[in-house]
């Protein structure tokens, strides 16, 4: 989605009305799928002391069934609008290849309303989990939109007062390269590490959440500030409520547009795009030649933006929890990494901890 936004930016195209709404709906589906996967199947086992969700299913089958049904409705939105769940094929520069009739979307409504209730239940359940004391002094970075909880567009803002247009991103952020890793790590110039994702969106956009999402958060004991990264599991639940609520509204208000895409004439230009992927801001920049062929591309995914912060969290967490037994400390350090729902290839359940106590 960031890529088509960047291309449209380069070509001076605006996509609005039902086409914009469909893109927002597609992203809601992605958030629901991704958050349900992470909350229940990847993050919850840590809190409950299970090694994976299959083990949870043996003792609490209803919880895992709820997770799978939530995840499934998210995936169904993505598959209906995108053609398939992973690497959807239907989005194009200017709009879509094919837009659905309203009658293709309304069958999703009943289960989305169930999903909204199940998400409220998710928030309530997540709030009962045990949370370690840990509140680093983060700089949060997220998009901010005049009216909406940010998904597809907005200005890039931070908790230290940054407020810039997307095309100014690279004037303020750069990537460094550490010898110990292939992964690039983003740095906010003159500030250092920063935190993107649900916690950042929540802290910078609480006032943009829908009433039902706000009250789910309050009922769970959250205020409009949450700095404990372990509690991101509750905030993901709040965003599940938000995404289900928005998806219901978008489908109810949808009318099928007359054309699937606005006309596109390739020409030279540079374009910038930034969207809120489930795990944080995703920045794209492209340079196109006169035929529209990409001659230069830069992509900064959210996990690379969180990378430096994750390492900083690990250092702080180990220092303040060094008295834990090795096995417990290793597991909690894995959990520190998983708090960020890192891009799934980095989310693997594997950590070698060499402890040298003095």
């Amino acid at each position: 989605m960031s890529s088509v936004h960047a291309m449209e930016n380069a070509l001076g195209i605006t996509v609005d009305g039902p086409l914009r709404a469909l893109r927002r709906l597609l992203y809601c589906g992605e958030w629901i799928e991704s958050h349900a996967l992470h909350v229940y199947l990847l993050h919850a086992p840590d809190f409950l002391g299970y090694e994976d969700a299959i083990q949870i299913a043996r003792d609490h089958p209803a919880v895992v069934q709820r997770a799978l049904q939530l995840k499934k409705i998210g995936n169904e939105i993505v598959a209906t609008l995108g053609g398939r769940e992973i690497h959807p094929i239907n989005v194009r520069v200017g709009g879509f290849y094919r837009v659905p009739a309203k009658s293709e979307l309304t069958p999703l409504l009943d289960r989305l309303q169930w999903a909204r209730d199940a998400s409220v239940e998710t928030v309530r359940w997540a709030a009962t989990l045990p949370f370690p004391e840990f509140e680093p002094d983060y700089e949060f970075v997220a998009l901010r939109h005049p009216d909406e909880y940010p998904i597809n567009e907005g200005r890039v803002v931070s908790s230290t007062g940054l407020d810039i247009a997307v095309h100014e991103y690279e004037e303020h952020f750069f990537e460094e390269h550490a010898k110990h890793s292939n992964a690039l790590r983003s740095v906010h110039k003159n500030h250092g590490a920063y935190h993107v994702g649900p916690l950042a969106r929540y802290n910078l956009n609480f006032d943009r959440l829908s009433p039902v999402a706000q009250s789910a958060a309050r009922d769970a004991g959250l205020t409009n500030v949450c700095r404990n990264p372990f509690k991101s599991i509750i905030v993901r639940g709040v965003e599940l409520v938000q995404a289900c609520d928005e998806a219901v509204r978008l489908i109810q208000e949808y009318t099928m547009p007359g054309q699937a895409a606005v006309p596109v004439v390739p020409h030279a230009g540079t374009g910038y795009g930034c969207t809120e992927a489930p795990r944080g801001i995703l920045y794209h920049r492209y340079r196109l030649d006169e035929q529209g062929i990409i001659t230069e591309a830069k992509i900064v995914p959210p996990t690379s933006q969180n990378q430096k912060q994750i390492e900083s969290d690990l250092r702080q967490f180990v220092a303040s929890h060094i008295d834990l037994p090795d096995e417990k400390l290793t597991w909690q350090c894995e959990q520190v990494v998983r708090n960020y729902d890192p891009c799934i290839s980095c989310a693997t359940h594997f950590l070698k901890l060499h402890i040298e106590r003095e």
Binding site: L41, P45, V64, Y97, E175, H177, H349
Partner: protein
Amino acid sequence: MARHAKPRLAVWKFSSCDGCQLSLLDCEDELLAVAGAVEIANFPEASRAIGKGPYDLSLVEGSITTPHDAERIHRVRRLSKFLITIGACATAGGIQALRNFHDVRSYISAVYPSPEFIETLSKSTPISDHVKVDMELRGCPINKYQLVEILSAILNKRKPGISSHSVCIECKRRGTVCLMVAQGIPCLGPVTHAGCGAICPSYNRGCYGCFGPKETPNTESLAAQLTVLGVSDPDIVRARGRAPHPDQGA
């Protein structure tokens, strides 16, 4: 003994985006049934529990791009009775095989601020270039129903129903009117391996070949037809390079 009576499944990752192994977690209706039929002994994307080998069945995702991975795949093979590669990276080298047609060093210095930290091979190669592969599933990503089918077939000791014809047949089965014939939209369906269910044409988009070439693809004939439709030569060259064949640039 009873604990080990179920076949032991392992999932391995090499250079890839994880989309193919995510397909297993996307089987919302089948996941618990699969977990009941096999012992998921090694699946680090989903579980902390890592059981030691050997494994009855290994799913391997990703291509070989580093010296470390070129060694690791031999260990995976030794531990696995039956080895299936899943997805375009593992079966053909994936999008990272774009490097096979260029000097990888120019790519590294374009991407990394400190190229000297990067240890990589000059080519991205499929798993079958390194070890014996018992079966492969195509696609970027794989079709999750094909994954369930292949698991079910192996568990029940039968031949999996995985077709090797072109995407064209899948359009006919689905009842999609041919985009090339009816609308003049360029489509790689005639030379592309089936398996996706012909999704793109049903969304009014020509196939872009993400399942890779079918056996004996007639690319000359397709290129001639694309020229008739007004596709430029450079675009045809790009379309052919999109799903690199294992033999190309080897």
